[in-house]
Subunit: 229 residues, 2 copies
DNA sequence: TATAAGGTTTAGATTAGTCTAATCACGGGC
DNA sequence: GCCCGTGATTAGACTAATCTAAACCTTATA
């Protein structure tokens, strides 16, 4: 069996492959998981020995198909749990991430199945992240465009926000920005600061935050500032 | 923080204190947790150092108040999970134990609270085991008497069955024996083999199984072979 | 093209949890 | 009251995951 820690490394590599360039370097993994580089080096050696990643020394790593399947299963667990906690245990979408992180390694196939069934096999979790299907095909993680790529006057619908940072999530929730919400970019200032109109309110978002929000162009029929599923 | 493993040791000592004589010896813990005696010795040293147990060398161990509180919290998690899985995720009462064992160490206070609320703060889990309250006062684990102590003609109501052995549980479920069921002892054979009438069926139970079933004397008003909550 | 900077790996140590083999303690029976 | 068996502990080793400090590649640039 695979340890929790190994699963965490595979999940991290999965995210990092999709977020930046491949191959994924030691220090990016180290930063993401909050461990030191030598720790990552020794861990990726084991993962390569066990066939979950391809590794080229001094270059970086890439998931093999087998490693990707493991990562996708953990991601499926995570996102199903986020959806379940929100839908059936009255959690707020901004606070489910940590709970899901703790539980994702410890649920059985049976549990996964029953939770998926209770939810009616949803396609996305409360943050708008796609939930991989039971066949563990990697989902398309790149829906829409980054809010940071838009300019003044664009009306967009929020598709997806990052679930990783609790502080950021609390801020977004407070600002009324969530998946399904339609907003309009009113200004882009130096350093990428983006100002958006959400309903009657204006909010300014630092570039890092705007980059982590994925949006699609809003059609005229959609209501401003009204959330959807 | 306390590791999963340490929590498992405290939970094991909690059960063993209530099941047999105190203090609890090394080999009983070793057998219960399926590890070797030297492993237990070294682990109980750490637990004693950290104040969770009193230890007397060559004699055995006993939980301190602090250790007992930790054990009771884990037990609360376990039993709430068993109840939740049965009630809300359509699990069968005979198959929830392992899932609860895996999850009990990883749920937050918040999760515990929300699950308890969703269930309406139940007093017992699906096996009839008492669920400790949020204040973590140790519950009375000794309800009723053991089925093995009864003789021919006794009509009793099943209060509680052990949740530890999946095979035994499957057998009992198949035999129609569950908490709430009323049955009548029709025979006690050598080696403690107990024969009981459950509805129209007769079932013979080995002594070890009969000892793990706790019952109370059935009053006339109760229906035979009809389960209750 | 030589070198310095930045990232990566090696070396060596630490902690937690486990094991086997060997030694030790305690209590019952002669 | 001694001896022996059962159970407990000590001794020593191993694996997984982590760290710090030091040595090592790679690459960009001067």
């Amino acid at each position: 069996m695979l340890s929790d820690v190994m699963e965490d490394y595979l999940k991290a590599i999965y995210y990092l492959e999709r977020e930046g360039d491949a191959p994924v370097g030691t220090s990016r993994i180290a930063e993401y998981l909050e461990v030191t580089s030598p720790t990552v080096t020794s861990m990726v050696e084991s993962l390569a020995d066990r066939g979950f990643i391809e590794r080229e020394k001094y270059k970086g790593v890439e998931l093999t198909d087998e490693g990707e399947t493991v990562a996708v299963e953990v991601v499926r667990h995570h996102r199903l749990l986020e959806a379940y906690l929100t839908e059936h245990l009255d959690y707020d979408w901004s606070e489910v991430h940590e709970e899901a992180d703790a539980l994702e390694h410890h649920i059985s196939e049976e549990f996964e199945r029953r939770v998926a069934e209770a939810l009616g096999d949803p396609e996305v979790d409360p943050h708008g992240d796609p939930i991989p299907g039971a066949d563990l095909t990697p989902p398309d993680e790149g829906v829409g465009t980054r809010l940071s790529e838009h300019g003044s006057g664009d009306r967009v619908r929020v598709e997806r926000v990052s679930d990783r940072d609790a502080e950021e999530l609390a801020y977004l929730q407070d600002a009324g920005i969530a998946p399904g919400i339609v907003l309009e970019v009113t200004d882009v200032a130096p350093f990428g600061m983006v100002t958006v109109a959400v309903g009657d309110e204006e909010q300014s978002l630092p570039e890092t935050v705007a980059r982590s929000i994925r949006v699609t162009t809003a059609t005229g029929s959609e209501d401003r500032a009204v959330g959807g599923a």
